[in-house]
Symmetry: D2
Subunit: 363 residues, 4 copies
């Protein structure tokens, strides 16, 4: 079992980059939920490769077809299956790669695992293409969450070491919508300009850059999550590491907290308008694995795209000898900005699952 | 369900800081495995608070009693249950805290979840005390792994921003043993001196510091783990966030990878002595969620101990009003060094589970 | 989460009777396995409604399309998704039923659960139609099992109280194949004649009959399964009750064992050709949840088709008042014979999952 | 993983018959629940071997010690661990059995699985002794259920083919309490007399008998459970087969339904006092895996105790040769009556888990 997560709401992703289709099954959705397909499409479009210089040449329309679970625009209790055909497959690009694992890709580990029997054309099941069905699931989850007052948003917190401004202490649904509408998902547009320049510079060097996605969720009730291994952090991290290229996940101050003193990192409590709030949010909305009611804030590190135009050293698997490799064809000089809606999608799916599961503290 | 993880090898932790005992059930251990109880005790002693100035005054002997699963020093196929009585409980320290959540602790979220019905004396089930049974499980897992050529070791990679040297590209079991035998678990003893000074300085300021634990595993076969959500990273992260105070987890270059270019971050492959190895290990031994056969390397960020002697702002839950709080009693100015064996324990338990599960690539 | 089972090999079924398609995702199949699509189709044809008098008029071709996981006729490590379009939907038949739950059907419970928001046309996700994708999964599992020396077969052990002969003590793969090739899946063709007569008699009475399916698996190694809740019986039963209309599951002598004495029910061991075998098989190949190496034998009770032509008493949900109901349209007077391959499918899927999981006794 | 079940409420059982203790961890209990320890003890006493002629000579006091999760008589949100020491161990009885698997016991399969490394003294982890901690968990679950209007009760439906009267269409909590208070748990005391006579007759013949336990739950809301593999039947069966000696599980009319016609088996609906009820309950309170609101009714077949005093044929494992075996020492001529509270316990634990999980139909 690999490509699945969730407890009450279980999500299974399937497909290979150059197979017939990619898709997703969502089992456990409540019934009667209207799905706004246009809003869903706008969400999907945010992760699609565009036409600009930052993106690959691959064109995907990414319009999901619903085979089950959605009737007359509403969920019907049965598992929902959405399929996105793979229109634009250029398997001819693959050839040589079957025998020469690309550094930084799953080619070698797939070979080790499946003894050369995997379909690794275009990255196969490890491809970023699989984030399309993930966004279908997450986009649907976002709609259900919004209906319950929970909003999830994200921005590109850094590219190539160039930081965006952080989320404010209390981000709003309006702010999330504003970032989502921008062509480049940053809070500080000037920082965004510099990020884009860094991406283009890498592209011109036949190289790539990585980045950091920061994601927040507001409107969660306090008391969600379980201690130790059933915490919100545990479940979110387990899912977020399923996004291709993610190599780190942190909550609140995260690794930065390791450099603070307790007096700096602790978030003092106070009463505001009859509710208990924290004055700061180094905890990222989670203490002991359980939500505080403050915004949930997490960051995911996205490594630089392993596919680069430069010559690289690798091995020829069939002969067990050293060789060189130059990857041709389309590839993104950066995938971090495209990972922004994907992080939202995964976060939303996990949070909806946890809300469906309930608090259970006192039942 | 909260305090459990694992698939073939399932580990359940129970107990509260000031209850009768803490303990663990390990279900799924192979039979006939000899457990070296002295070696296990030495491992447990590594996480115990010591007598030095860096530690709390609480004294625990932490000798596990085995109620089941271990007969004549060998596992017998049945679930293993180990219990550690809580000898030194000073519940008198608790009193005021029941109504005043300590900033940075789970007091508030436990109150939100269980409506004041939780046993939060000494942190209750959220206490670092729960890492004792976790180390029993992990210490046993380490012995089984070592018997199969897999070794897990860790060091304190940073305290208060002061870095230790990183693991070498190919750490050895001997190196792991050497660090484990040291009173302070660092590679660079001079850096260790400075870390200890920083901890003492925080203590003198009635404050605390955080740190980073770096953990490695060697001897894993390539091909372990599943794509997307069933990856080694997913499963390790899900468990590691169960260690109290962990707020970030990263693999290989982790968040640092987000600042590298692809040409820097990609690990070139080459053939060494008939095996495929990588020249560097920014991937931390994992590509696409699956092991490469290179050392698995991860880091966990440990926040500064939330219990500090300084006056802090909080609320009185019963009256919903602002108040002040000064925490008395024992507490560590730093828990990151004590988290070193705990990270090893959790990592070992997850890896043993995955090895038991097998590769399944070609079956 | 509802329509899923399996641990290493996870199977998700989706679709509604009158939706666009039904389908299945199999996550965790080993790679490189050749799938004989013709043999698979022959297996699927066994559960299809035929043209004879015993069956519904609904015509389905049931040819699965593989969207992922199968390339060039071989599994490729990625999740396999197979879809069967719903060609013949006559939703017009539904109408009145939306407000009048059919006795013995899930109409009422679906209404209670989903508040009228479920798509229950033709039984929706509860329809026997969902056994088509289940048979795709199970048919594939059967091929992988056969390649490893494990064979699964079933027959119709009873209809309307008329018993077939039981399996011999040591059924063979050849016997399974022979039954599978018959138009009516019984061991004793004379008994089969009487069963068919009973089905037709019920049909003529605008009524229906139930039956019992007996399923066996040979070639399993001893030692498979875990004690208590991880046993072979537990996992098979959990899946078998997912077949629509199954109301009982028993292993070996089953309920009959409750009427035997220990001296009759115990299976004496003896050595045969250097292997330990049992002289009888009241245990059905399982002791303590773990395989003995003798044939695994189970039976599932299939209730009479709830859709009958006779007038029945029910309620009008919208007005909460008593009413009458006469179901028109196509329906089988018996589904037990069609459940024979379905029971094989589910049994095979569970057993393959357990074989993939391994024994783990001594690792 | 073997000795565990449950999703939101997860139950792990540990211990061996002749080890230090048996016990259970319940993870996921709501907090603040008062546990009536006297009522719990009365429940535990129902499964304890008594002093009468129907029982073994083994004397167990079976008073659980609570190591965690229960403070001042109330659950506190943390996992609850209860331990029952094994006071009366006579391992001397074991000796010869280590090399001679007892027919009908798990001795052989444990040997096959763990290669002789299992602790099988007194049946080890497969012993009926493990039902003691199971009853601790189930007894607690029963108290929480009763507080929410759900009552679980059972009776001995048959012994050696002698039937008790069935439950009435609408059993009551008072009836459950009445049966529970009886020394022999039957509805029809005259039938109970005959059952006891049959047990004694078997005992005098150095033999044993089996039986059937019928269990019911009332007060469940309609709409609980999920379709296909997430149904109430699936989850109950998966757990019930974990009770030692259970070889069959059926719901409602069960295997009997296979002999009925649809017109007999279908339960007509009607409106009673503004609620939708069924006129009969062949469905056992479940349609499509989901509760109807009618009483849930199930039966479990308990095989005759495999330990009998008669000489039996078996093998000598070490020499792979045929041999004879006569089992000495204490053993029950029937365990079916002792399985009555165990079936209640398991049923209650599963139902509480499902109620905690919620309906999720419309959320």
């Amino acid at each position: 079992m690999s490509s699945e997560f969730g407890n009450i709401l279980h999500i299974s992703v399937f497909g290979q980059s150059h197979g017939r289709a990619v898709g997703v099954v969502m089992d456990g959705l409540p019934a009667g939920e209207e799905i706004d397909l246009e809003a869903l499409q706008r969400f999907l479009d945010r992760r699609r490769p565009g036409t600009g210089p930052l993106s690959t040449a691959r064109r995907e329309t990414d319009v999901p077809e619903f085979l089950s679970g959605l009737e007359d625009g509403r969920t019907c209790g049965a598992p929902l299956c959405a399929v996105i055909p793979n229109a634009d497959q250029r398997s001819g690009d693959y050839g040589e790669l079957a025998d020469k694992p690309r550094p930084g890709h799953a080619d070698f580990t797939a070979w080790a695992k499946w003894g050369g029997r995997a379909d690794m054309r275009g990255g196969g099941h490890f491809s970023g293409r699989l984030t399309a069905p993930l966004c279908v699931a997450g986009g649907i989850a976002k709609q259900l969450l919004a209906r319950r007052g929970v909003f999830v948003g994200a921005h590109l917190a850094a590219v190539a070491g160039i930081p965006d401004a952080p989320f404010p202490l209390h981000p709003t649904a309006a702010l999330f919508a504003e970032i989502a509408a921008r062509p480049f998902p940053v809070l500080d547009e000037e920082a965004g300009e510099r990020m884009r320049a860094a991406i283009l510079a890498a592209k011109n060097d036949l190289d790539s850059v990585g980045g950091v996605v920061e994601c927040a969720a507001i409107g969660l009730p306090p008391g969600l999550g379980d201690p130790m291994f059933g915490g919100v952090e545990n479940r979110l991290a387990a899912a977020l590491f399923g996004i291709p290229a993610v190599k780190g996940v942190e909550f609140g101050a995260g690794f930065g907290a390791a450099e603070l003193r307790g007096s700096e990192n602790n978030d003092p409590f106070r009463v505001e308008e009859g509710r208990i709030r924290a004055e700061s949010n180094h905890a990222g909305g989670i203490l002991g694995g359980i939500t505080t009611g403050m915004p949930l804030v997490l960051r995911a590190a996205v490594k630089p795209t392993p596919s680069i135009g430069r010559a690289q050293r690798t091995v020829r698997l069939s002969r067990l000898e050293d060789t060189g490799l130059t990857i041709h064809g389309r590839h993104d000089p950066c995938v971090a900005h495209r990972a922004v809606p994907v992080a939202e999608a995964v976060t939303a799916a996990v949070l909806l699952d946890m809300l469906l599961e309930g608090n259970h503290g006192t039942f």
